[in-house]
Symmetry: C2
Subunit: 323 residues, 2 copies
């Protein structure tokens, strides 16, 4: 049997690194994961990563040809092939990820941040198929974004375009990890919604099962489950989160005039609870000429492997452009 | 002598229409203007415009070859070659400007809104020469913007991208002509700064020569002159205007990561009074990775003819791309 052409998608997260072998039609043939070990120096990490890739190739039941490696990582710079001072890892200074992996693999290798990888994944395999202008919002611990303009990822002057999570909701608002105040991700993200719950618990006297839960234990999953049981504070927290997101996305539309905005990641799996208030708020805040034009869509990538498929799409997209 | 190749730049404003014959090196060889007459039907307007163009060609002291016609107009759609319900004109519904002018002229004709024309003008002949990623903010009665990504104007899905004047500063803020509240242009524009003066006159007890002036008489030129004489309210109004503009431009940078932002139009000619607070506020509000990277530049187009040269550049830019 002919070998199957695959690209390797690698998602480097603060806790785990996941890799997968993805075929040209977006099927993840096999995946594996290893702990990232945030205290480990980059050099040792990539020795382990190489071993893990080889181990996984060895365990495949089919023959594959690796056409390239795509990587999604925090603070990645596509132009330079680097990761610069990632917030949750002890990799010092600038790590030349693409150069390091080229010591092991003689194939196209590209890296970008995880939200950009998600955007390219949606364009190649997901809800962005056939669209030329769209924005992907990734709702994880923080809020990331990837912007597609005219069928291409928007990198801007220095490769760092698409930081919608750090647009400002309120310059005197919540302290953000970036050192400023009132960034969108302090309101709209897994961490943002639990800050909202804490604020609502403080400001209102409404009963809520979440009053029994500490801030650290109060995950977005737990808030979702409480909302599904009809908990008022949890429901109001989702409504508020969507209200803020929709308002700021109206600014995004005023800049970019996209066809669609795709919500991706943990918080987006709350479905109607987050999509409905976001969509209502967006429409209410949009300039007239944009009203009823911009779709809010869920991710079209398979839930478990979306990050890996996104990273792999970085290479498939480049191969397809050359063909 | 060989005839000189020119494009005709036409700037359709609410009060006046200005046209000019612009050579390939950006020189305006001759210009003319006529009243727009906002109550006149579009059909009659374009008969007058054609006559004005022919009259101006007849008066030229050199022979010219017209290579194309570029038009800047409010609510113009580049994709459709139309103007749709312009706010200050009585042109009903959709006016097919490009089709109408093709009845008279057999050459490339393109139309876009005035801020997009300014952006292309800066790219071809002005401060954007050599830049790939920048934003032009036009500070007139309102606030317009044109966005250049990768050396091309960003039109978005429907041709209406770049409405930064209608991003939201405060959803409960000043009523905007667009029917919403708190749009950037209600704070940052010739009209915005006089609303700020009115607010400051109300909220403070500081003496100001502007207390003697009615709202309608209080032009941005008058505020500028008062500021140059040291008037506290006028100075504070400029500082506030720059503060708000810088804060919102930080959001623009977070989306687009441009190399520069060019301030264009009446209010920008206040120089340091507007550039300094804008630049300070932008730097203070920028996400770390963008700090000290984005230049705030004045327009590089000659003041009197900037709109006409911008409109003409729409065609020169297309001719240059084809060559």
């Amino acid at each position: 049997m002919n070998p199957i052409e695959v690209t390797i998608g690698i998602d480097i997260g603060g806790t785990n690194t996941v890799l997968g072998f993805v075929s040209h039609d977006g099927q993840c043939l096999a995946s594996a994961s290893m702990p990232t070990w945030s205290q480990e120096p980059a050099k040792k990490y990539f020795i382990r990563l190489h071993e893990k890739i080889e181990e996984t190739i060895g365990s495949l039941s089919v023959n594959v040809v690796v056409k390239g490696i795509g990587i999604g990582a925090p603070n990645a710079n596509y132009f330079h092939g680097t990761v610069e001072s990632p917030p949750n890892l002890k990799w010092e200074g600038v790590t030349h990820v693409v150069d390091i992996l080229h010591q092991y693999y003689d194939c196209p290798i590209a890296i970008t941040n995880d939200a950009n990888a998600a955007a390219i994944g949606e364009m190649v395999f997901g809800s962005g198929k056939g669209l030329k202008h769209f924005v992907v919002i990734t709702l994880g611990t923080g809020l990331g974004s990837g912007i597609i303009v005219d069928g291409k990822l928007l990198y801007g002057a220095d490769g760092f375009a698409g930081e919608i999570g750090h647009t400002i909701v309120d310059p005197a608002g919540r302290v953000c990890g970036c050192g400023r105040n009132g960034c969108l991700e302090t309101y709209v993200s897994a961490n943002g919604i639990r800050r909202t719950v804490a604020e609502m618990i403080c400001n209102s006297t409404k009963p809520s099962e979440l009053r029994k839960v500490s801030f650290e234990e109060c995950t977005s999953k737990l808030i979702y489950e409480a909302a599904m049981r009809g908990d008022t504070i949890a429901l109001e927290a989702f409504a508020f989160t969507g209200e803020i997101l929709g308002m700021k996305l109206a600014d995004t539309v005023a800049h970019l005039s996209p066809e669609a905005i795709i919500l991706f990641g943990g918080l987006a799996s709350a479905g109607k609870l987050i999509f409905e208030p976001t969509s209502n708020s967006l429409e209410r805040h949009l300039l007239g000429i944009f009203k009823n034009k911009v779709k809010i869509l869920p991710s079209g990538l398979p839930e478990g492997n979306s990050a890996v498929i996104g990273a792999s799409a970085l290479i498939w997209h480049e191969i397809d452009r050359v063909i």
